[in-house]
Symmetry: C2
Subunit: 413 residues, 2 copies
């Protein structure tokens, strides 16, 4: 992609209402654009990050036999009356009255849609276990939307729902999904801790959250470095030694980056989701649910991976791998050699953002640091004297000269 | 995928409210499930078709330099007041009053979001032309939602918006997109005609629609077979000879499968989208917009490609390529050989749906015809006598025996 033609250019105006590092850097870098509090445009650079995250999530959910589907955002209010959550979640609903005077809510979650859906198809123990997920947009009227992509009113989510014949089967699957979630965070360059949490309106039981430690976190967790476990400080208020290994714990701020719930029969009972067991008995299906906010993940990665110059994208989710900079000035040979390298990289399917603008070296370097692609390659009169480019990783402070002929082999090695 | 574990199984109950072939076949085949009028769940089989269509659309939009982005569904009403469409489109809005007493609409279209967005970044003629698109969900409160996926209240759409320095530049780009659209339909197995249409609330000018001829069509078009052109009968009421070649025309029913508009400065003026031209003059940006309903496309393909037994998916959009049927009965050897072939195909990345259920041959064949995958492969005691499978294309009435050892080479040839 030629940076000169891209929608969403780097800017150094500090957004007046940016209340967090991710809001500031993502806005300045041209990844997102605020439409209203908690509501954002995902610009081309930002959408590529989101799509990379989605691909990782899909792979890991498919690996645990999740079947992808897509449920609607518009829910007849009657669905929510089944479970009584039309009342308990009323505060956060976006509601609308449609033609024919029918009332709808825009889904803040999808248990009330997925449970009756599965009830249409599940008859026997032979149909279970089953697990389905979607990448969908959720709508929640958060009175105080804040922190950029961390707490949105319209936001992306992967929500998975699993269906089982017994709590034992749910328990085993729950552990599989827990492991899949940890792989998602690891692949996105995040170190996440599993912590116990209270389920709020979703469930009466304790559930698990995945917490990423960063100064911007809203939660306080107690981390034990010795055994790599953590607890939520709301639950484990008085804990000063680790429950698992007895080691010392320390308080840290963390961002909640996902959560998983054992729902049991909380939804299958009101939604009438039964199955016939081997013994011929009609029983309630046992359910679990598993959520990762994918747009929130974009913000979390920025909170966890930046410096004072800008974002440092992990290679797995970076919108492009290479930031190619031409410092051509008035020299047509430099411009032509940079263009030639750009076309070579494109041909080899290297994901490359080409800063082909007529701008100063200073501006281009500052923008590259802000945008944060993993590898910066500079072509200038000086580097071409040695038939070379300057090659620098965003995560390192020093670059090195690399022969032009070695650039492509080094990238595809 | 093992059919025994899939959410959304074939059923022969005729949906009581299915008013069209696509609603009936997609519901019975387990592709979609109705939540409310015009609002559907896309089940795993149906979502795969949609994702295949999306991939084709993305490739063709990227080819005409479209940049993918993602705008929100929740729009502050103030955006729509800019253009006056808060009044002209009021009938079809889903509206909501959010916390802080702010009014929002759920986007039935995105001109009011994209134009102010582009205005933040476009300064000079050097920033133009530019073209951006999204695959997003639209919300329109159609009083009479009907015809399955053809007229939804919540539906998927690819909407692209282009920005130009002059009408000449728009005109040239418009033709490029027209060609890209025709490639999308062709790749989805559809024969589409370009017809002139009135733009309704979107634009004052004539625009173009893409029409697919099928008996379920809502529109009447006049088609000239000699030169492969068509006209909308509302516009060309009295036409009895083709305007292009003078040949005879005939009336046919057609489904509108996309439309493109020359917006001119209709939106750039109220949204204040200007650029500075080469001559230093401040001018209004000239816009075009281009829509394809992707969920509607799923329904259109079914309307255009089915027989009395079920759907006939074009290979490019089929949810799986192969429907593998094991007729094992009580014979463990047949079951084992079918399983072995299934695993071989998976390993070779052949997209295969494996009917591993304990059901009759008749039921399995009827389901396969309903679901409509391109290639049906049957493994039974009879075929194994000849170390073979029965291989039949959905679009043909007769199958043939193919040696087991030739199945994979034939599929990956």
């Amino acid at each position: 992609m030629r940076y000169s033609r891209m929608l969403g250019r780097a800017s150094y105006e500090v957004p007046h209402d940016a209340d967090s590092v991710n809001a500031k850097l993502l806005t300045q870098g041209g990844f997102i654009d605020k439409v209203a509090a908690g509501i954002y445009n995902h610009l081309p650079l930002g959408l590529r990050v989101l799509q990379n995250i989605n691909d990782i999530i899909r792979e890991e959910m498919n690996f645990v036999q999740g079947q992808e589907l897509l449920m609607p955002a518009l829910h007849p209010i009657e669905l929510w009356k089944q479970t009584g959550r039309d009342k308990t979640m009323d505060d956060i609903f976006y509601k609308t009255r449609a033609s024919g005077d029918r009332d709808f809510v825009f889904g803040p979650s999808h248990e009330e849609v997925v449970t009756p859906l599965v009830a249409k198809y599940v008859r026997s123990y032979k149909d279970l276990p089953m697990s389905v997920y979607q990448l969908q947009t959720k709508f929640r009227d958060e009175p105080r939307a804040k922190s950029g992509l961390l707490r949105g009113r319209e936001f992306g989510m992967k929500d998975m729902y699993s269906f089982h014949t017994s709590t034992e089967d749910l328990d085993a699957y729950y552990e599989e999904v827990k492991a899949a979630y940890l792989r998602v965070y690891e692949r996105c360059g995040l170190r996440a801790y599993v912590v116990k949490a209270a389920g709020g309106v979703f469930t009466d039981q304790y559930t698990h959250e995945f917490s990423v430690v960063t100064p911007a976190g809203e939660d306080t967790i107690l981390v034990c470095d010795a055994c790599k476990t953590a607890e939520n400080s709301e639950i484990a208020k008085s804990m000063d030694r680790c429950e698992t290994c007895g080691g010392p714990v320390k308080k840290e701020k963390a961002i909640e980056a996902g959560n998983i719930f054992k729902l049991g029969t909380k939804f299958s009972e009101p939604c009438n989701l039964h199955f016939t067991d081997k013994d011929g008995q009609r029983k309630l299906v046992v359910m679990g649910c598993y959520g990762i906010g994918n747009t929130r993940m974009v913000g979390t990665i920025v909170e966890a991976s930046h410096d004072d110059k800008g974002i440092i994208w992990p290679e797995s989710v970076a919108p492009y791998r290479v930031h190619l900079i031409a410092l051509a000035g008035k020299d047509p040979v430099v411009a032509q050699r940079a263009e030639q390298l750009y076309l070579e990289l494109l041909k080899a399917h290297v994901e490359v953002l080409f800063d082909d603008r007529d701008d100063s070296a200073g501006k281009k370097f500052t923008d590259a640091d802000l945008i944060g692609l993993p590898i910066r390659i500079v072509v200038s009169a000086r580097t071409l004297e040695k038939e070379s480019v300057e090659w620098k990783r965003r995560s390192e402070s020093e670059g090195a000269m690399v022969l032009l002929q070695d650039v492509l082999p080094k990238l595809i090695a």
